[in-house]
Point group: C2
Chain length 217, copies 2
Amino acid sequence: MTFDKTDRNQVKRSPQRGHYDRETIYRVLDAGFLCHVGFVVDEQPFVIPTLYGRENDNVYLHGSTASRMVKNLVTGVPVCLTVTHVDGLVLARSAYHHSMNYRSVVLFGTAVEAMDDEKDRGLFVISEQVLKGRWDESRLPNEKELKATTVLRMTIESASAKIRTGPPNDEEEDYALPIWAGVIPLRQSYGKPEADPKLSDGIELPKSVANLSGVTE
Amino acid sequence: MTFDKTDRNQVKRSPQRGHYDRETIYRVLDAGFLCHVGFVVDEQPFVIPTLYGRENDNVYLHGSTASRMVKNLVTGVPVCLTVTHVDGLVLARSAYHHSMNYRSVVLFGTAVEAMDDEKDRGLFVISEQVLKGRWDESRLPNEKELKATTVLRMTIESASAKIRTGPPNDEEEDYALPIWAGVIPLRQSYGKPEADPKLSDGIELPKSVANLSGVTE
């Protein structure tokens, strides 16, 4: 259940922070829903933020048929897909040892267009990744909407995770300096839901939202 | 003060969300400190999360001389540098019109190594971007540390921002559906500082940390 370590996915800097097992890689992927997708057009790299959903070794993306990302990815070009969570600022005594606590994954593969049942499934998987339960509350896509949307499946060919946790590491002689050191945690949280000004009266907050940690009406 | 709109930086999908003026692009850049850097090695794109600092049209990056990113960027290959802030989940009545509120910028250019005074300046600019005032509180880099670090300057050649705000947009006939719609704000915030277990007694929380919004001891 581990991805082979090759030149492509190897964590070269701070290799002790590198992980290649699916359990760790899945855990980092499943904690987010926004990725940065890299692809190349005429030697120019593009890095585009987009939503994703993971199921097993498949990562689904979607977009308008008119988008640069979709137009290029459907042609089967090499893709790099990266997800990063920043967990804290690591303040050391020395400027040099300042760091971040973070969890990131870098995935490699190529995308193919998901068709028919897999297209529906891909949209469901992305929706569930962003907000579990929302799909079943929504008015589902009609033919026209499906036609305007391309769903892409990228099977993970190669991957690695890189994770840093814990306090700063300073040079032995710096611990005596009268400089504060430690970690400032950073977290993402949901705020109070803002109802659409056009929302009809008497419609309650849905389960999907009520289930989000920290959300109250 | 606007970047020319070319095929490279043009926002193709939802063009009404595209911005090309420096004021908007700088504002999105200045609200963050983590970017995703894209570069190509033998036709394979890589997307690597890293810290940055902006000064005028220059974006500074740094890394170990041993890192894949540094080794490739110093050779002057084309770079795409993307910064994304997710501001909220946009829940529409229809699955199709679900969206995100976000601010993102995509920058294009090539990197050069910053040397001597500019190297020091680049490190300062990155440090200030992550945590204003921290540089002056820290034990500054010595020769050996400077030697182990490469600082890169990427002058922005071309750029665009893409921004979505506000409530969902549904199809006219869907507004009558008994489905909740609105925005769930998402924000990043700092938690309670965690002192290094090795911190000497009597060292107070520094100004840089105390000045962070929401941080209390």
